[in-house]
């Protein structure tokens, strides 16, 4: 019976997280267009629903009814599986993400995560890196120069930015003496790690921007010179899978920023339920991503590479050194 309840609880949590993750990109697209509009003194979508709130639904319906076009000369198998390969890793990341302390529902004590891995951080970094396969497959299978160039750029970018990202996280791991995300958050109860690790956060955030392929590092889908990057040839639902995956990567990076540097679900001053504090902080980072997008121009490809290797990697190593000295 105990086992049954435990299995049922896990099933409910899995379904809940999956559904939430599928729904989250919907308001995010609306939010992005609204923020874009208001920053440019426009209004953004206004016509579908109240202040355009139903616009993502209309867009989704439109994408569903589009022709599922597969280019003639493409590698059909790879072309078909690429969106799924890109879509699954961001979902897998959230297996290890804790959203709050233990809560009791109907007298049953349950933690707010799916799996309390003791190497959760490593798992997240590793799985998040898998998304690159979807990008490679999509770009290669499309048999289009734009898609291929876009995916080449994405690969180079993701590979070179995963290194400073991993290095930046080491400082946090040294401070909390754990790779378990719940332990890392608990270690921040007295003081958030952003205070101890400003350099680490800086490197992590910039690398995160590049990981999520957001401006100023969105070379992969540089609209001006590449069409749309690796998903140029995609249409309909397959295209929207790529978009969902991109929004989820952005969400992942925001969640990681909050968990590692901004105290997770621990609030300040105002006592709110833990998941709400968590959501507020994540929302702030998502807003930051969008705000950056409509402020900055795009870096050139060689600048991107030199920032990654010549600035961020040395800075992250320096951060490890400093943290090491202080911890010692």
């Amino acid at each position: 019976m105990e086992l049954m309840i435990a299995a049922a609880v896990i099933m409910v949590k899995v379904i809940l997280i999956t559904v939430i993750l599928f729904i989250v990109p919907v308001p995010l697209t609306w939010l992005e267009r609204k923020i874009a509009g208001h920053i440019q003194q426009r209004m953004g979508p206004m016509r579908v629903g109240w202040h355009g709130l139903l616009q993502p639904v209309a867009d989704g319906l439109k994408l569903l009814t589009k022709e599922d076009n597969i280019p003639d000369q493409s590698d059909r198998v790879l072309f078909k599986i690429a969106p799924f390969v890109a879509l699954v890793p961001p979902f897998m990341v959230f297996v290890a993400v804790p959203f709050g302390d233990d809560v009791s529902i109907f007298g049953y004590e349950t933690p707010l995560y799916l799996s309390d891995m003791n190497v959760g951080l490593l798992y997240i970094l590793a799985v998040a890196g898998l998304e690159i396969y979807g990008v490679i497959f999509g770009g290669w299978a499309s048999n289009s120069k734009y898609a291929l160039l876009g995916s080449l750029r994405t690969c180079a970018q993701l590979i070179s930015y995963e290194i400073p990202m991993g290095f930046a996280v080491i400082g946090v791991v040294m401070l909390s003496q754990s790779m378990n995300l719940s332990d890392i958050v608990d270690a921040q109860e007295p003081l958030w790690f952003i205070v101890y690790q400003p350099l680490g956060f800086f490197v992590f955030f910039i690398a995160g921007l590049a990981e999520a392929q957001r401006i100023p590092f969105d070379l992969a889908e540089a609209e001006g010179d590449l069409g749309a990057g690796y998903h140029t040839e995609y249409s309909g639902m397959r295209f929207s899978f790529f978009m969902i995956s991109e929004y989820l990567v952005m969400l992942t990076i925001s969640v990681l920023c909050v968990l590692l540097f901004f105290g997770g679900w621990h609030g300040v001053l105002i006592p709110l339920p833990a998941p709400i504090w968590f959501a507020l902080k994540v929302g702030f980072f998502i807003y930051l991503f969008m705000w950056f997008r409509f402020t900055f121009p795009r870096y050139r490809y060689d600048q991107l590479m030199s920032i990654g290797w010549k600035v961020l990697v040395p800075l992250s190593i320096l951060n490890i050194l400093i943290t090491g000295i202080f911890v010692y």
């Binding site: 509009g37 440019q40 003194q41 206004m46 705000w291 900055f296």
Partner: protein
Amino acid sequence: MYNENTLNKFSREHRWIGVTFFLDLINGLSLTFKYMFSKSVTMQYPDREKWVPYPRHRGHHVLRRDENGENKCVACELCAKICPCNCITVVPYEDENGKRRPLVYDVDMARCLYCGLCEDSCPEEAIALGSVFEYSSYTSEELVVGRDSLLEMDGKTEYPGSVVKARYLPLAQSTVEAQESSGYDWWRFIHRKD
């Protein structure tokens, strides 16, 4: 508001200070943040608002009436002569008072290039280009407008350059009906006040 010389606060050899602390990027971010909460300049044209053109706007043609409510046009055909695209057809006749009036006064809106030469050439100030700009149609035959409908068109505008509240009528040939006579000046947020 926006200070583009933040980096220049430092002398040339100390510019790296500003660059290191991303003062330029922070400057840009603060600018976009201010814009984020500024009033948007969108004119919600078909749904809620409508633009009232200036008097010099060259829209749909109008035939004016004199004080007695009679058609001012004397069918001299100067407009038809000067029209560069031959879109005006005038056929004169003599009415009961012995005056020369147009029997037919057709303007082909699809051919017209809205140069306003007909208006300039008219000795009686009868033909004018008015303020109406919503007369799209599915067929080009519908765009040939006759004398009587030209006499009924709205003329020059009274509250030019403003935006008025309006209502979108998708079933009535997709027109937008203005609901007030004077609105706000659309340029108020755009023209600098200094």
